[in-house]
């Protein structure tokens, strides 16, 4: 038994060492050393949308055709959204990594800090016609470390409010647009409208997503209260700040005191008329059809003012992969101005030249020029991103159970917030 074990251990050890060595060798050869054979590239992504995939495959095929000596095929492989990051990192651990991968903003620093991504700066800026300077610095921030660019945030999506005017009318209250014009488009206003709509129609106004698994998306609300879970540099917990406590108490009371927001564990579908309001990325608006009278608005004002938020997704080259140069070359093509313009029909690009109504108009047909100006162009330069951290997976895992405690009727939020900081502190420092 013992010899058996050591043999296996040795084999695994050998496999592991060789994995590391391949990584190290590949890391040394980041200069575009041309290979003898064209390679097959794989790109991991979470979209299973057929239209998305058709466009990606079109871009991929064009690149293969133009560079047959570098790349023989490009495969876009969908990893389900549900467990995307953990599946991706499992594949890296399994020594079966894709060459390129999409990443959520929340785990961006995790990949950058762990040194899991290839530095793209040189490839991108050296590519002819790439116009590196056109990349919006505020969009690139999360994906850049000490002047090195590690990923391209292909989707830089302003978060917006979508509203169902019919339900506002049914409740006999001013519509969201009227609220905005009257200066009442605030979180308090949304809570009051929600309560009125629920009372009048039986349908929820704004179903806040209280699922602990996606706690970071509550930033939509707490940013307006001037709160954030940790300090800018990610080293200090600010979850127990009075602002955060106020924001959380606002949500909890909205559920249990004002009967405005549905309890956790309820499900509603805004797009089929199941709720009066929903917040999400601008591309969601394309799902709106004529089945009810709708409108889109910017995020509301909180006690600390109005804060715009963008959701991001990036694509980068994994160091664990074998074909860094070819993968980076493809990424430079995938995100060049022409392709970025094509991708912009699904994903707002991080390029300044593409952030205007003329580009966005045709690809967001449901939105008017005014709406686009209001919710995209005006917001994207000064926007916040959702929380992200170099240790996000561990932090998220540790704080999720505490969120369940927050969403109970008589929760002691200041003390739970202190607990959150208690579990977060060692993880922020690590």
């Amino acid at each position: 038994m013992n010899t058996n074990h050591t043999k296996h251990a040795r084999r695994i050890g050998a496999a592991f060492t060789s994995m590391l060595m391949v990584g190290a060798l590949a890391a040394c050869s980041t200069e575009p050393a041309l290979p003898d054979e064209p390679v097959d590239l794989t790109v991991a992504l979470w979209s299973a949308n057929e239209a998305h995939l058709a466009l990606f495959n079109e871009i991929g095929a064009a690149y293969v055709e133009a560079n047959p000596d570098l790349v023989s095929s490009i495969t876009f492989e969908t990893i389900p959204f549900d467990a995307y990051t953990s599946t991706l990192t499992t594949r890296i651990a399994a020594g079966d990594p894709p060459d390129l991968a999409w990443m959520f903003e929340s785990s961006a620093p995790e990949f950058v800090d762990a040194g899991a991504l290839v530095d793209l700066t040189e490839t991108l800026s050296a590519t002819e016609g790439y116009d590196f300077e056109d990349l919006n610095p505020s969009a690139m921030k999360l994906w850049t470390e000490s002047d090195s660019t590690y990923a391209y945030p292909f989707s830089t999506t302003p978060q917006i409010f979508m509203v169902n005017n019919d339900l506002f009318h049914a409740a006999g209250i001013p519509t969201a647009r009227e609220m905005l014009e009257a200066g009442d488009w605030t979180w308090d206003g949304i809570r009051d409208s929600s309560a009125a709509i629920l009372a009048a129609t039986g349908k929820p106004g704004f179903p806040v997503r209280l699922d602990p698994a996606v706690w970071q998306y509550l930033a939509l609300i707490w940013e307006g209260f001037g709160a954030s879970p940790w300090s800018e540099d990610g080293t200090e917990c600010t979850f127990d700040s009075p602002e955060m406590v106020e924001a959380l108490e606002f949500i909890r009371d909205g559920v249990y005191v004002d009967a405005a927001f549905p309890k956790p564990g309820s499900n509603f579908d805004f797009f089929s008329g199941g709720a009066a309001m929903d917040a999400g990325g601008i591309s969601q608006a394309n799902k709106l059809d004529g089945s009810f009278d709708w409108d889109v608005l910017p995020l509301p004002e909180g006690p600390a003012g109005q804060v715009n938020i963008i959701g991001q997704a990036g694509i980068g080259v994994l160091k664990a992969g074998d074909n860094h140069a070819q993968a980076a070359g493809f990424l430079a093509y995938y995100s060049n101005p022409e392709n970025a313009a094509k991708l912009a029909q699904f994903f707002p690009a991080p390029r300044l030249s593409l952030t205007n109504v003329d580009v966005l108009g045709p690809v967001n047909p449901v939105l008017s020029a005014d709406q686009l100006q209001e919710i995209v162009v005006d917001t994207v330069t000064d926007a916040q991103t959702f929380p992200s951290h170099a240790n996000f997976a561990a932090i998220s895992n540790a704080v999720q159970p505490l969120f369940d405690g927050i969403w109970t009727a008589d929760s002691d939020i200041p003390s739970i917030a202190a607990d959150v900081c208690g579990v977060m502190k060692p993880l922020l420092e690590r």
Partner: protein, 279 residues
């Protein structure tokens, strides 16, 4: 003839166990680096790990609740089906059917039913009651998970117990009935002892099964709310494959192994007290 089995057990049972102990003393986060020998650090970390404490409690409640509920319902069903009524086969088929149904499908249907605005609460509202928030309320989530799991698996235990009941010699039961013993007395002092070996086997299998519960927890509650259903198996998965800590994950695996070992031992020892006619 025995070689494939032995070889298989060596590679897929013994080797992983040995490796588990070796991994459990490593600092190993496959994304960041390692494995690196870290002595007892992981074990020291266990002591202050409140989530581990939560999941030991959750596992305990789950196993006890599941076994108690499963065994009693299975026994009731088996006794009811043993009454030689017409149409027994139909009922038996119905009670047994979840056993052959895909576990994930079964769990998804119940998850859907147990949403705050789902089907179960709709049934409640028909009679003017407001049902609890089954999967989100710490007081109800564990019970919900247990009950769903009981209905999924109770059919198997029912069949096994029914077979045992049918093996109880009828003359024995009738003789004691004539002696004036009540139905309940007969059941307690004649039937129960006779089926106790089966009861033991079934309970062992159920306890072992209860520790493997993973898909149900992951789909229905993800371990929440507030870790109240975060059983060991789910916690291990979280640590190893979500947070990506293979070293500490293995340490949690060792804890799980010790728990299983302990439980088996307890059952082994309790068996002599329990089983009346072990041959």
């Amino acid at each position: 003839m025995i070689a494939p089995s032995i070889l298989g057990a060596a590679v897929f049972v013994v080797y992983p166990l040995v490796a588990l102990f070796w991994y459990s003393v490593q600092d190993w986060r496959p994304l960041a680096g390692g494995p690196e020998f870290s002595g007892l650090d992981n074990y020291i970390r266990l002591l202050s790990d409140t989530t581990l404490r939560d999941s030991l409690i959750a596992s305990g409640i789950f196993s006890v609740g599941l076994v108690a509920l499963n065994m009693s319902i299975a026994l009731v069903l088996a006794v009811l089906l043993n009454q030689k009524l017409a149409g027994t086969t139909v009922f038996r088929t119905i009670f047994f059917s979840p056993v052959v149904v895909s576990l994930v499908a079964w769990t998804l249907v119940w998850t859907f039913l147990l949403q705050n605005n789902g089907g179960i609460n709709a049934l409640f509202s028909l009679v003017g009651l407001e049902g609890p928030n089954w999967l989100k309320d710490t007081g109800w989530a564990m019970l919900s998970v247990i009950v769903v799991q009981v209905f999924k698996g109770v059919g198997l235990n029912m069949i096994l117990l029914l077979a045992a009941l049918q093996d109880v010699p009828e003359e024995l039961v009738e003789a004691s009935r004539i002696d004036g013993a009540s139905r309940f007395r007969v059941f307690r002092s004649i039937t129960m002892p006779l089926i106790s070996p089966t009861l033991l086997l079934v309970s062992i299998v159920t306890v072992i099964g209860s520790l493997q519960v993973f898909a149900q927890i992951r789909i229905m509650t993800g371990g929440g709310p507030s870790n109240s259903t975060n059983v060991l198996a789910n916690y291990l998965y979280q640590v190893a494959f979500e947070v990506k800590e293979f070293g500490y994950g293995s340490t949690v695996g060792v804890v799980m192994f010790v728990v299983v070992l302990g439980l088996t031992l307890v059952q082994w020892l309790a068996r002599t007290k329990w089983v009346h006619n072990e041959n």
